[in-house]
């Protein structure tokens, strides 16, 4: 039963790990495809990238990492039987998720105002696909954080935290590749 015991050693929910690995495969494949297509038109990609709002994205990185920190604290506090503090941390983490979405929404609105859509350039196709898909996960994450703040069994908080850290991690992969890579 060696394989079963190896799986048993994983902390938290097995299915959440399946989801996390699947998500990383999808975003990883998306980023590889992005880099591949970028090779065919480096100048066009650089030009398109210059239209991005980097300050907002950097701010969003801070927002999301702080939110992840709060979610991580929430589990520790819940394990220490400080339920109120844990709940507060989870709700704050969810609110920071909402802040992320507001900044992201402003970014999208700015693009739309400039007449930029996913059909403008392949760069923007990937930009909208990858950040849009990520934003959808942030939205789901906010709902999950609020759900585990309500049903605050430590195992639930752990599973919610697992998901939220995955959303965090994906953003940290997307941010440099899409916004910064020159």
């Amino acid at each position: 039963m060696s394989d079963a015991s190896l799986i048993d050693e994983l902390p938290g929910e097995l299915l959440m790990w399946v989801l996390i690995v699947s998500e990383l495969l999808v975003f990883g494949a998306g980023l590889i495809a992005f880099m591949g297509v970028r090779l065919t038109d480096p100048a066009g990609f650089a030009e398109a990238q210059s239209h991005l709002y980097r300050t907002g994205a950097a701010l969003n990185t801070g927002v999301l990492v702080t939110s992840g920190f709060l979610a991580a604290r929430a589990l520790r506090w819940r394990q220490a039987a400080r339920r109120g503090a844990a709940r507060l941390a989870l709700i704050s983490a969810a609110l920071l998720g909402v802040v992320f979405l507001i900044i992201k929404g402003a970014e999208y609105a700015g693009k739309a105002a400039q007449g930029i859509s996913y059909e403008t350039h392949p760069f923007f196709l990937f930009y909208y696909l990858l950040t849009g898909f990520h934003a959808a996960h942030v939205l789901a994450g906010v709902a999950i954080l609020l759900l585990v703040a309500w049903r605050d069994d430590p195992r639930n908080i752990e599973a919610g935290g697992q998901f939220w850290h995955m959303v965090d991690l994906v953003w940290i992969l997307l941010f440099p590749v899409i916004y910064l890579l020159g």
Binding site: M1, D3, L15, V18, L19, S22, A33, F126, L129
Partner: protein, 455 residues
Amino acid sequence: MKYESQKVAYAYFAFAMGLFAIQVIGGLLAGWIYVSPNFLSELLPFNIVRMLHTNALIVWLITGFFGAAYFLIPEEAEREIHSTKLAYIQLAILILGTLGVVVTYVFNLFEGNWLLGKEGREFLEQPKWVKAGIVVAALIFLFNVSMTVLKGKKTVITNILLLGLWGLALLFLFAFYNPGNLSLDKQYWWYVVHLWVEGVWELIMASILAYLMLKLTGVDREVVEKWLYVIVAAALFSGILGTGHHYYWIGTPGYWQWIGSIFSSLEVIPFFAMMAFAFVMVWKGRRDHPNKAALLWSLGCATLAFFGAGVWGFLHTLHGVNYYTHGTQITAAHGHLAFYGAYVCLNLAIFTYAMPILKNRDPYNQVLNMASFWLMTGGMVFMTFVLTFAGTVQTHMQRVVGDYYMDVQDQVAIFYWMRFGAGLVVVIGALLFIYSIWVPRKEVIEPGVVETPAE
């Protein structure tokens, strides 16, 4: 047989096997028309033969699923089926619909009639009254099995099986929506076609396979359930957005090319997991189950599904590749091995396991049954290779060089001849399978005595 009502499955399996025979003979006929195109062109045109071949396949596979559900749910739920009468009414509706379809197609009756005429949407050609009949039959079925499970023990296997069967029935409702816009028509058409075979059917497949593994290998239920959860999660994660790989060239927005390519590439994972699952269970299992043929079909199912659906699907799923291969014989190669591996073998595995139990006797003459496995599988794999070569040549000549379609068809005729030969072997195998299930009453080879090695 622990529960009397499991007997219902017997009638379902009998009907399914009858249609299976018709399906493969129809396939052989279609294969002959490929090499001799004017054969029966007035009496039974190719498009009708193809419709019979594909429609019969779908109907017998679903009938087999229904039968499998009626067979395994009583054992899992530990109670009799809610109503055997309803189960037989359901089967009668399915048989009536099938007869109606065959008569309507063959004699081209009621052409253009909104209720009685065939509807001309590939695979969903059934007249509207037959579609309605399918929905009624599905509702009866869902009511019947859901009531059984609700009143009985709930296991992961039955939960996943029910999820798959509910999904199958609900997604079929999109068959009734036929918008005038051809792009939208295709978009919704795939909600049935793709989300069946690359979505909910995979749940049905995984749960039936899990049941067979549980019975044949004697591995702990807990272990089987853990695998089942992972397989189902991977199947749904990749399969739902994987629908995008059908949206490359039908007029849907360009982002589907990347969504479809990425997600459908991941569809290999659940099929790989199912294959790994089946083999790991056999290695771990301590039970020496007498029905070796059922085990062969189960392992064959998981392996051939991985190659047919997984590998041959991946072969042309990336949009950069599919731009050239779309609608060539590569698609036909994939279609044949995927359906055979995933769903035909699965049904034949559960028939092989259940029929001796339903007939209340030992699994006689497994030699013939296993021979039929190798005949059918050998034929089908040969056909897959032949069609893949035909498709490769076709892709190059037609899509790269730019030759005319019919000129290219002449050039690949040799492959169609070989496909006909392969098809003949499959038909012989299928008929041998049916014979081995129904007729022999004694074993050809006396099984040896299992010796326990000295400690």
